[in-house]
Symmetry: C2
Subunit: 113 residues, 2 copies
DNA sequence: ATGGATACATAATAATCTTATGTATATTGC
DNA sequence: GCAATATACATAAGATTATTATGTATCCAT
C-alpha cells in the first residue's frame, strides 16, 4: 500500500532533514532510494517534489551543499547546517506531539496499526 | 503550541469525517469548536478551510445535509452517509499505518512525545 | 545499441490551505 | 440601548506544496 499523497504533504521537509541528520551527507537521488527502502515502498518521494524542497532548504540556510563529479556525472551532496540541526529537533518534537494529538482525536489505538 | 499548518494539511477531511462518525450529526461551526476543545487549542480549523471541505465531502456523497433554522439563523447539519462510513474506516486505518511508518522513519519513540 | 537505472533540474497543473472579506443573527457587558 | 463578541454561513484572492510531464545527460548490462 502506497500512502495517499495528501497524507505525506507537509512532512517532506521533516523526512529530508531527518535523513540528513542520520546520514550526515547525502545526495538527492540517494534520499529518495533510502526512504523508499526504509518504508518498504510505501513512501516514494518524487523528483519534482524533492529538488524544489532541497533548494528551499538551502535557501533557508538549513543545509549546505558540495558538488562532486562521479566520473563525468554531477552529484550534489547535502549536509545539515547548525541551523538545520536545530530545525530538525524542533520538527521532530512537534511531529511527536502532533501524532499524539491525532491519535487521541482520531481514537487510534496501537492495536489498530 | 499551535501546530504549523503544513502538518495539519491532508488530515482535515479525516478529522471532519471522524467527528461526524463520533457525533452522528454536527454543523460546521460546531466541528471547529469541538476540535479546538478536544485538542486544547492546538488544532484550529479555519472557516476558509472547513466550508470548502464540507462542500467537497457532500459533492463526493460522503455526507448528507439538513438545513434548520435556529430562530432566524440558518444552521446546516452534516451526517455521514454509508459511503462516508466506509471512507472514514479506510482513512483511519491508513492514518494508523502512516503514523507507524513515520514513527519508524523519524525514529520517534513514545517517550519523546 | 538499446533499455533501464542513475542524477540533476524546471514548468505546467492540481490540490489544499491561509487570509481577507462579506452577510447576518444572537448574546453579553456596560 | 448599543457596542463588542460570538455564532454561522459562504466565497475569493493568494500562497504553498505537491503531481505529472518534460528535458538533459551519464552509466551499466544484455
Amino acid at each position: 500500500m502506497i500512502f495517499s499523497s495528501e497524507l505525506i504533504k507537509g512532512t517532506l521537509k521533516t523526512i529530508v532533514l531527518k535523513q540528513l541528520e542520520s546520514n550526515k551527507r547525502m545526495y538527492g537521488y540517494e534520499i529518495t532510494q533510502r526512504v523508499k527502502e526504509l518504508t518498504k515502498d510505501r513512501i516514494q518521494i518524487t523528483e519534482g517534489a524533492l529538488y524544489p524542497t532541497l533548494h528551499a532548504l538551502e535557501a533557508d540556510g538549513l543545509v549546505t551543499t558540495e558538488t562532486e563529479f562521479i566520473g563525468k556525472r554531477v552529484r550534489k551532496y547535502y549536509s545539515l547546517s547548525p541551523k538545520g540541526k536545530t530545525k530538525i529537533e524542533e520538527k521532530l518534537s512537534e511531529m511527536a506531539e502532533f501524532m499524539e494529538t491525532m491519535k487521541f482525536l482520531l481514537d487510534i489505538n496501537p492495536t489498530t496499526a
